[in-house]
Symmetry: C2
DNA sequence: TTATTTTTTTAGATTTGTCTAAATATATAG
DNA sequence: CTATATATTTAGACAAATCTAAAAAAATAA
């Protein structure tokens, strides 16, 4: 069994290596963990001793299969708890992340399976992210970003790639929530912002925001 | 904010001092915490620095009002999560304690209040123990023990004072669950075991077991 | 009331996860 | 290919929570 800290390292290494099969760098981990590179090196050695990561000095780390499964299990718990908080306890999608950061470390396989069942085996969390099943399997639905759409194209909002409360609240206010359909009408030349229509309303979205809205055409 | 460890100490000191206004002894804490007296002394000093307990060398500890409220809040969370596990996730009453030991440390006041509401503000946990409200208030319903009943007396099972899985499973098997009504028919002289009738069935219960069954006459 | 037992505290180590500062390796730029 | 910049590791220290062994206080018994 891993400590909370070890679990957080595994999860971060996982997120940094998914969609990218290169080695994860010490500094990248340090930034996400909000700690120092020296501390990361210490922890990496420990995780390597436990065969959870492969490590070569100065060459960054890769998760082993065991490490990857451990990480995915934490992600599974995180996302299931987020669904619970939104669906059952009526939290908003911008309020659940920090609580799930704690709940994801609760250690009971039985609890996770029963929670999954209680929630009717959800496929996605409140931010559109896929929930791995009990074997760690999930399908990565392909997506594009609002910032990549061309004029006139229609799309369905299926997720976000930025999870800060400020960003989510902003989308909420604009009515840009999961499942909404939108049409891109204009791309502004000078700043790349986009005009879209959602539910018959015209909205302007900065390029920075558009980059983080995941779309299925 | 307290660490998990500090919270566990507070909770144990609380349980050892409720129904008993004497100072809680170092060794008593050590036994419950499954640790050594020396470690307890260290922690007591830390809790005293934080004004969560009153401590005089060699004289044991008392919770301060702040410490008591902190402890009660942990107990509240523990019992609410136990209700959740039994009522919503269909765990048995003997399966929930260890998971609740972890969940009780999740740190979000909003979560607790919403969970309480989701559960329809339960007054008691699956073992009959009272759940403090958000202000830490609860009424200690008076009770007696099956071992104190006299021949012919009737009673309602309202709780248990032993929470081990083995004990709870045993009661379950005998059909001695919360809310059941029983009548004491015989007290055996030589070993103090009691014969009772529950739902028209005659059952024999050892004195040791009878001591831990809480009854309202 | 003196001796013995029990309880509690202190002293000094250990483990985990962190830090700063300095050393070393790797990458990048001329 | 060498100089500089960046990334990473090492060395040594620290705080939290624990431990063992020994000392000290309090309780109990003779
Ligand atoms: Mn999240
Ligand atoms: Mn999420
Ligand atoms: Mn319990
Ligand atoms: Mn309980």
């Amino acid at each position: 069994m891993q400590s909370f800290t070890e679990e957080n390292y595994l999860k971060i290494i996982y997120h940094l290596s998914v969609n990218n099969d290169q080695a994860v760098q010490t500094n990248a981990i340090a930034e996400k963990m909000q700690t120092k590179a020296a501390s990361v090196t210490d922890m990496i050695k420990k995780l390597a001793d436990k065969k959870l990561v492969l490590y070569k000095k100065y060459q960054g780390v890769h998760l082993t299969e065991t490490g990857k499964q451990a990480a995915i299990n934490i992600v599974r718990k995180h996302r299931l708890w987020e669904v619970f908080l939104v669906e059952k306890l009526n939290f908003k999608w911008d309020e659940v992340h920090d609580i799930a950061e704690e709940l994801e470390h609760i250690n009971s396989a039985e609890l996770v399976e029963r929670l999954d069942e209680f929630l009717s085996f959800p496929k996605n969390d409140p931010h559109g992210d896929p929930i791995p099943d009990k074997h760690g399997k999930f399908d990565a639905v392909p997506f594009t970003r609002l910032s990549k759409l061309k004029t006139g194209e229609k799309g369905l909002i299926m997720g976000v790639s930025e999870h800060s409360s400020a960003f989510l609240k902003h989308l909420e206010k604009l009515g840009l929530t999961l499942g909404k359909t939108l049409t891109l009408t204009t791309i502004t030349d000078f700043d790349g912002s986009v005009e879209i229509i959602v539910e018959d309303k015209k909205i302007s979205v900065t390029r920075e925001v558009a980059k983080h809205i995941l779309i299925r055409i």
